[in-house]
């Protein structure tokens, strides 16, 4: 009896937490993030119904069939019932699996957008760097022997390649609102992870690989980027920021940054 009440109470308390506004997703800042939120809402409704039926059923059965001296039923199976609930569950679960592919394809199977702004991202224990092509629109060659963090060359831009002379390196990621962005994620030591909550995007950054990550942010603001793959003792301090700027302000920043570039 007590356990029936307790199961119902704990399930109820769990449900109640979903109605508090304090610990929830931050506001979405891209079309993908909004699509994510609707797929999440759909999934949450489905599992919410299953949760209520299953926990409620368990609590009710524990209450209804408590020992009152009754004779237990001799029923020990029903093949038709087994088939019905197996097929019904499979239909619901697989429908969810297929419904969920849209947002995945939107991020990972999208084709290159010719208007996209390309930014290279370099992760290391325990810092992020970003590189933009200069006025020539071309990224210069890199040479790992020329990497020099203190000297402002975390990418190792090759000083013998004139195309790299105007490349811009920065410690935070600035992008214009409304324009597609394609990041090229690289790590030079261990695995890190680039995560922007407001974009609902997260991607491991794996040494030896260049992994693309595409998004179009539409709401100006500053968004924190926490490293989200264990990378060592400074993992929790490997912080960066995404700054989404109004297009004019971004252009202004870009011109200024180009003028400040010093040859490595």
């Amino acid at each position: 009896m007590a356990i029936a009440i307790l199961i119902a109470a704990l399930a109820g308390a769990t449900l109640a937490l979903f109605f508090q506004p304090r610990w929830w997703f931050p506001d979405a800042i891209s079309a993908h993030a909004r699509a994510y939120d609707s797929q999440f809402a759909l999934t949450l409704w489905v599992i919410g119904c299953i949760f209520v039926l299953a926990q409620g059923g368990l609590a009710w059965i524990a209450f209804r069939y408590r020992d009152q001296g009754q004779t237990p039923s001799a029923n020990s199976g029903n093949n038709r019932l087994e088939i019905v609930w197996t097929v019904a569950t499979a239909a619901v679960f697989l429908a969810l699996a297929f419904a969920g592919q849209g947002i995945w394809a939107g991020v990972h199977l999208a084709v290159d957008d010719p208007r996209a702004l390309h930014v290279e991202v370099m992760a290391k224990q325990f810092a992020w760097s970003y590189r933009y092509a200069g006025a020539d629109g071309v990224f210069g060659r890199v040479d790992i022997r020329q990497i020099d963090d203190a000297g402002g060359n975390p990418f190792g831009i090759d000083s013998t390649d004139p195309k790299g002379a105007d490349d811009i390196t920065a410690a935070i990621l600035r992008v214009p609102a409304g324009r597609p962005v394609e990041l090229r994620l690289k790590s030079r030591d261990v695995i890190h992870n680039f995560f922007v909550r407001e974009l609902r995007l997260k991607q491991d950054v794996v040494p030896g690989m260049t992994i693309p990550l595409r998004f179009t942010a539409d709401k100006p603001g500053t968004y924190e980027v926490p490293c989200s793959e264990l990378c060592g003792l400074g993992h929790h301090q490997m912080r960066s920021a995404l700054v989404v700027m109004p297009p004019d302000a971004y252009e202004e920043w870009l011109q200024e940054a180009r003028q400040k570039v010093v040859l490595p």
């Binding site: 007590a2 356990i3 704990l10 769990t14 937490l17 610990w23 997703f25 994510y36 797929q39 999934t43 599992i47 299953a54 926990q55 059923g57 368990l58 069939y65 020992d67 001296g69 001799a74 020990s76 199976g77 029903n78 019932l81 087994e82 609930w85 197996t86 569950t89 679960f93 969810l96 699996a97 592919q101 947002i103 394809a105 939107g106 991020v107 990972h108 790992i144 963090d149 030079r188 030591d189 261990v190 992870n193 909550r197 609902r200 997260k202 991607q203 491991d204 794996v206 040494p207 030896g208 690989m209 992994i211 924190e224 490293c227 989200s228 793959e229 264990l230 060592g232 003792l233 400074g234």
Partner: protein, 528 residues
């Protein structure tokens, strides 16, 4: 009772003893971690005394926190959840339930226990070597785990000992798996077909089959990682790395390859922890509702289906790893498919209770609690199994909450249920029922209070494996939540003292039990 006994009952108790020691250590480590998360600047003299390098002046360093986390996860997954339900209960009760007088290979059985014990000692030794225990987590992803001291303290000898410990554990588990499989195939009583076995035996059988294939692959992965560290090979280390400002000369390896090998083991490992418990819960629900298990054959087939499908879903741990996005789609569909037999089991448990006469013993309390936790923990798999949705939750506290409930707490509830149920057979006495129920109520409330709120830290995007949350503006919001969870964790841990007292007190002072105290129908209560 000799130390190197080959008696299956003694070995079963030895495994349970090893698991009990391990779980207490794992709990203590988790309490230290929970304390540190909410008091990151506290200077605690005890920490300074225990770890002079890791906590100078009592101030815990991030690397110490991460090494506690690594050992907590490793101990709980391997030395608690893998040992107690399978090797502990299985060794003791499988021969009794199928009418065999012992396991097929008693000496091999003894060897697998002592290899497991050696593995545990090897793991704990990592705390006492230079640099301390490794900080790369129980998943030990290279290159963090593959390049030695250069990637962090604890990544030197500590990481070597960790790999050695896991390799020994694999060998022990392979020996145990072979023993279980042969015992079930060869030593069943002449009148017992496969579909006459109790579901507990089905749970142990499928778990042994999974262990055989899964641990073999983990062993290979561990050996390759050890070679990368000690022999200069490059299975998992790509070229062009600069670690700690030093250019690395190796090339050609793939960090993602290790993840494939690890999770090919790692996902089936979840089922290694939970399938024996599933079998046991079926038995207990049936006994205490006075009914046969509903849909026995469907339950046995569901165990086989989970065991089989469990081998083709490992990629859902790697949705964000950088592997092909197309394979994520396949892994996602298969992952939701493996949820189907789990749901079928839940339906059959409810149908077993339906129409029964429920006797609420302590064992029955834990069995009902298991079903509730299994639902709460399992259902979030429908979110994490979708790669698109997993993107946000991966490596956040949402995942921590999910696997602690479905893998950790559910399996532990099955162990508690099993101990209450089988204690009379093991010791001729009852565990104290009143204390057992008190322990259940506090534990049941405690686990909901600890793990349900952690999902909400995940909604905020709170990354896991952070020693503190000071660096980020957005994490200030979750501090009150973490403070609440830490207090709930203290409460939950305190509740376990009731069990500890009950367990040892009842062995000597518990009420004497008759031969078949619960009116059960399986063979272990008949023989003697």
């Amino acid at each position: 009772m000799t130390i190197f006994s080959t008696d299956h009952k003694v070995i079963g108790k030895q495994y349970i003893g090893l698991a009990l020691f391990s779980v207490l250590l794992g709990i203590v480590l988790s309490l230290v971690m929970r304390f540190h998360l909410v008091h990151p600047d506290a200077k605690v003299k005890l920490f300074g005394a225990l770890w002079p390098d890791g906590a100078p002046g009592g101030q815990m360093t991030p690397e110490l926190y991460l090494s506690l986390m690594t050992i907590h996860g490793t101990i709980m997954v391997f030395f608690v959840l893998t040992t107690a339900p399978q090797s502990g209960f299985g060794n003791y009760f499988l021969p009794l339930q199928i009418g065999a007088h012992d396991m097929a290979f008693p000496v091999l059985n003894m060897l697998s226990f002592w290899t497991t014990a050696l593995s545990l000692l090897t793991l704990l030794a990592a705390f006492f070597v230079e640099g301390g225990a490794p900080l790369s987590g129980w998943t030990a992803y290279p290159p963090l785990s593959g390049l030695g001291r250069i990637t962090g303290p604890g990544q030197g000898l500590g990481q070597d000992l960790w790999i050695l410990s896991i390799a020994l554990f694999c060998v022990a588990s392979l020996m145990a798996a072979i023993n279980f499989i042969v015992t079930i195939i060869e030593l069943r009583a002449p009148d017992m077909g496969y579909f006459d076995m109790p579901l507990t035996c089905w749970g142990w059988f499928v778990t042994a089959l999974i262990s055989l294939f899964a641990f073999a692959v983990l062993l290979a992965g561990g050996i390759l990682l050890l070679l990368d560290r000690t022999a200069g090979t490059s299975f998992f280390v790509p070229g062009g790395l600069i670690v700690n400002d030093q250019i690395q000369t190796r090339s050609g390896g793939s960090p993602i390859l290790f993840q494939h090998l690890f999770w090919f083991f790692g996902h089936p490992e979840v089922y290694i922890a939970i399938l024996p418990g599933m079998g046991l819960i079926s038995t207990i629900l049936s006994t205490f509702s006075g009914k046969k298990v509903f849909g026995y054959k469907a339950m046995a087939i569901a165990l086989l289906a989970i065991g089989g499908l469990g081998f083709v879903v490992w990629g859902h741990h790697m949705f964000i790893s950088g592997m092909s996005p197309y394979s994520s789609i396949a892994f996602s569909v298969l992952t939701l498919a493996v949820g189907v037999p789990s749901a079928v089991k839940t339906f059959n448990w409810l149908a077993t209770l339906w129409g029964g006469r429920l006797r609420f013993t302590a064992a029955m309390h834990f069995a009902l609690g298991f079903v509730s936790i299994f639902i709460t923990g399992g259902i979030t798999g429908l979110i994490l199994g979708q790669p698109g949705l997993d993107i946000y939750f991966h490596d956040t506290y949402f995942v921590v909450a999910h696997f602690h409930l479905i893998m950790g707490v559910a399996a532990i509830f099955a162990i508690f249920a099993g101990l209450h149920y089988w204690f009379p057979k093991m010791y001729g006495r009852f565990l104290h029922e009143g204390l057992g129920k008190l322990h259940f109520y506090m534990t049941f409330i405690g686990v909901y209070a600890v793990f349900v709120p952690l999902h909400f830290a995940g909604f905020v995007g709170n990354p896991r494996r952070y020693p503190d949350f000071k660096e980020y503006e957005f994490l200030k919001a979750v501090m009150p939540l973490h403070i609440g969870v830490t207090h709930a964790a203290y409460f939950l841990a305190a509740a376990q003292l009731i069990f500890l007292f009950n367990y040892f007190w009842s062995q000597r002072r518990g009420a004497a039990a008759p031969a078949n105290p619960w009116g059960a129908t399986t063979r272990e209560w008949r023989d003697d």
